[in-house]
Symmetry: C2
C-alpha cells in the first residue's frame, strides 16, 4: 500500500516531538498503520532555529497556509495553536483542498469546531483531534468509539494540569495560592500570564469539545459556565480534607432537567472517588454511560511525548481508513443545544464564612439558610475567639443554586459576617 | 447506506443485554455507526426460555455453528463462551464464510487467538473482542489504536473483579480469605467452583490477550506465570497497610532483559498508585508507552451492560469500515515470543515468616538473606511472646527471584521457622 503522506504545520515542542516520534517508531507505525507514514512537507516561521531534529528531507514552507493549500500530502497536521489566525486558515485551506486534518488545537475546536467539522464532512475527509483534550489519554477515541453504544449521562474531568498541580501542591504543603502560583511559574508549570489556565479557560475549551462528542451537540464555548481557582484558599483545602473531600478544578457536562449543563469550577469531590487521587499535572476524564456505567481514564495531559502519541494515533486511524464524524455524529444530526442555567443547578454546597465570634451569629446564619429552604448537613466552627474573626463552614444538603445565592446575599449583609461568603459546589461521584 | 446485519450466537446474560442495547439505542447507534445495526439471526440452545426480551423478529437457530456457516449477516457475534466447543466452531465457521466476528470470549482468544486472527486476516474480515478484557473499559481499543504510536514498555492490570472484590473486602473488614470467599459466593460475586477466578486463570487469559496486542507477539497462554490469591492472609493485608502498600492480584507483562515477562500473581502496590484505589469488582488497565508515559483506565470489568457496551463499540467500528489487525499488527509480523523465566525476575519482595520468638532467630534469618546477596530494606516484628509464634515481616531491596527462592528454602529449614515462608512481589508503579 502507498505511504500516507503528511504535511506538518508548526514545529514547536509538539511539532518537533511528532517528527521525532515518526522517525524513531517508523517501522512499528508502518506495521500498525498498514502503510508507512511519511512527512513530505513542513512549515514554520523560523527556518534557522535549532530544533534538535534534521528537517532536510522535508520540503520547507515559510507559509503554512500556502503549504496547506498546495500540498500533495494526504493529511495536514496543524500544530500551530491559537483559536484563529494561521491555525484556522491552515485547517480551512487543508479541508477545502480535500486533505484530512489532524490537530492538537483545543482553542480552535472550542471556537470553530462545528463549522470545521461540517467542512470536513462536506469534503469527505477526517478531522481528528485526540491531542486537543487530555494529552495522551485516548479520551476522544473512547467517547467517539469506545462508548458509542451508550447514551452519555455525564462526562467530567480534570482537564488542566496547571490547576491540578497547584491544588495538589496547596494540599500537600498547606501553602497559599499566591505562593504556589509563584513557584509553579518559576518551575514552568504555569505561564507568566497564568489566567488562561487558572481562570479555567483552557479547561472550558476542552469541556466544550468533550460535551459536543458526548451529547451530539455543536461545540458551544459560550454556553460553558467558567470559574477558576483564584478564590480557593489554604483554609478551604484544609476544611475539605477534614470533611472527607478534595478540591479539584473539574469540567463537568451533564444533562439536567433544564438542559445541558456545562461548567468548569472548583469542586469538592469525595476522597474515595478515584478522581480525588489524580494529583499533580495529570489529567483524568470520567465518563458515565447508559450501559457501561462509570469509567475513568487518567494520564499525562500535556507535553511533547503524550501529545505526539495522540497525534500519531489519529494518523494511524486515517491510514487504516475508518471514518467517523469529527464529533461522533454528523453535524447535520446535532441536537439543538439548550443550555441549562446555573441558577437551576441542583447540588450540595460547601460554604465558608468568616464571622465575628459572638453569641447568636450561627443561629442567624442558619435562619437565613432555612428561610431559603436550604437544609444543613453539617456545620463546623473551629477555634473560639470572642469578638474576633473565625471561620465557619457549612455543608448543605441538595439545593437549587438560586436559593443558595439568595441566602448567601442575605448572610453577607449580616453585621457579624466579615467577608463575602465563599461557596464551592460538591460533586458526587 | 445499507444496514449492518448481525447474527448473534448465545443468548445468556450478555447476549440478551446486547439485544436490549441494540433495540433501546437503535437510533443513536445508527447515527454513530453511519448505518443501522440490524439483528437478523439469533442462536441459542433453549428457544423457550424467558429472556425478558422479544426475539420474534429474528430468525431462530438451535444450532449456532450451522447459523454461522449459513448466515447472510455481515457480522457473527459470538457470546457462547468457553475456549473450545461451539464457541470456537462458530468463530471458525463465520470467518471461513467471510463474516466479521465480534466476540467477548477471553478463554477462546487466550487459547486460539493467533490462529483465529490469521484466519480473519486471510478472509479479509475483522476479529474484534473489546468485551473480552476489562468489560466496558476500552482497553483493547486503547492498546490497538490509542497508543499505537508507542512502543509499549509495560501493560498491567486488575483483570479479575472477583479477586479484587475479595481483596478489597478483606482489607476493609480484616476478615480472612475463607470467610470472604464464602460471602462472595453467597452474593454471586464468586462461583461455586471459584478456582477459575481465585487461582488467577481468568486474569491469565486476559493478560495473554493484552500482551499480544501490546508487544506484537502471538497469544501464548502457556507462557503466563500464574499464582492466585488463596495464600493471601488477613495478616499480610494488615502488614501491607502498615508498610504503605495494598495487595492486588495483577496481571503484568513487560519486556525484561531475558525476554517477555507475563505473570499473574498477588502484588504489593504502593498506596499512592492510582491502581491501589481501584476497589471492589472494578477492573483497571495500566499502559506504559515510550511517548505517552503512563495512563490508567478503570471501570466495570464485567456485567451485561458493560459487556454489551463493548460489543456495540466493536460493531460500530465494523460499520464504519476501518480495519486493524486483531492484535494490532498482522500475524505474519508477530515477533517470536521469548518468554522470560521467573527465576530471572528482578524486583523487591515482601516476606512474611512465622517464627518462634527467641534470641538469635532474626540474626539467622538476616544471615540467610545476606548469604544470597539479598539486602533488607525493612524488618518488622510485632508483639513479643517468648517461645511463641510471632510474625516477622521483611521487605527486601531489588533482588533476583532465584536468589530469593534459595534464601527462603534455607530459611524454611531453620528450626525456629514454624511455617513455610510466604513471599509477595512488590510492583513499583
Amino acid at each position: 500500500m502507498t505511504a500516507l503522506k503528511l504535511a506538518v504545520a508548526g514545529l514547536g515542542t509538539v511539532g518537533t516531538g511528532l517528527v521525532k516520534l515518526l522517525e524513531s517508531e517508523s517501522d512499528l507505525l508502518a506495521l500498525r498503520a498498514g502503510r508507512r507514514l511519511e512527512i513530505v512537507d513542513v512549515a514554520a516561521r523560523e527556518r534557522g532555529r535549532d530544533r534538535g531534529v534534521t528537517l532536510d528531507r522535508y520540503r520547507w514552507h515559510d507559509d503554512a497556509v500556502a503549504m496547506a493549500r498546495g500540498t500533495q500530502a494526504d493529511v495536514v497536521v496543524e500544530l500551530i495553536g491559537g483559536s484563529d489566525g494561521p491555525a484556522k486558515a491552515v485547517c480551512e485551506a487543508a479541508l477545502g483542498a480535500g486533505r484530512h486534518v489532524v490537530t492538537a488545537n483545543k482553542a480552535l475546536l472550542a471556537h470553530h469546531g462545528a463549522p470545521l467539522a461540517r467542512t470536513a464532512e462536506e469534503a469527505g475527509v477526517a478531522l481528528l483531534y485526540e491531542a486537543a483534550v487530555a494529552g495522551g489519554i485516548p479520551a476522544i477515541k473512547a467517547l467517539r468509539e469506545g462508548f458509542a453504544g451508550n447514551e452519555i449521562q455525564r462526562v467530567m474531568g480534570i482537564l488542566n494540569g496547571t490547576c491540578n498541580y497547584m491544588l495538589s501542591d496547596m494540599r500537600r504543603t498547606g501553602r497559599d495560592f499566591a505562593t504556589v502560583l509563584k513557584e509553579a511559574q518559576d518551575l514552568g508549570y504555569a505561564e507568566a500570564d497564568p489566567g488562561f489556565d487558572i481562570d479555567g479557560i483552557d479547561a472550558a475549551h476542552k469541556l466544550a469539545i468533550l460535551s459536543s462528542l458526548a451529547f451530539g451537540v455543536g461545540v458551544d464555548l459560550a454556553a460553558v459556565h467558567v470559574e477558576g481557582i483564584r478564590n480557593v484558599s489554604a483554609l478551604d483545602i484544609a476544611f475539605a480534607e477534614e470533611l472527607g473531600y478534595r478540591i479539584k478544578l473539574l469540567g463537568i457536562a451533564r444533562r439536567s432537567e433544564t438542559g445541558l449543563e456545562q461548567r468548569v469550577h472548583p469542586c469538592m469531590v469525595p476522597v474515595e472517588a478515584p478522581i480525588a487521587h489524580v494529583d499533580g499535572v495529570l489529567n483524568a476524564v470520567v465518563v458515565e454511560g447508559s450501559h457501561v456505567g462509570r469509567t475513568v481514564l487518567e494520564g499525562p495531559g500535556a507535553g511533547a511525548g503524550p501529545t505526539a502519541s495522540a497525534v500519531a494515533a489519529d494518523l494511524i486511524d486515517i491510514a487504516r481508513g475508518g471514518r467517523a464524524p469529527a464529533f461522533g455524529v454528523p453535524t447535520t444530526a446535532f441536537e439543538p443545544l439548550q443550555a441549562a442555567s446555573m441558577d437551576a443547578h441542583l447540588g450540595a454546597y460547601y460554604i465558608r464564612l468568616m464571622v465575628v465570634d459572638r453569641p447568636g451569629v450561627l443561629a442567624s446564619v442558619a435562619a437565613s439558610l432555612g428561610a431559603h429552604g436550604i437544609s444543613i448537613e453539617s456545620l463546623l466552627q473551629r477555634g473560639r475567639a470572642p469578638e474576633e474573626r473565625v471561620p465557619v463552614v457549612i455543608v448543605t444538603h441538595e439545593t437549587r443554586e438560586r436559593d443558595l445565592k439568595a441566602a448567601l446575599a442575605e448572610i453577607a449583609r449580616h453585621e457579624a459576617v466579615a467577608e463575602p461568603p465563599l461557596s464551592i459546589r460538591i460533586e458526587i461521584l
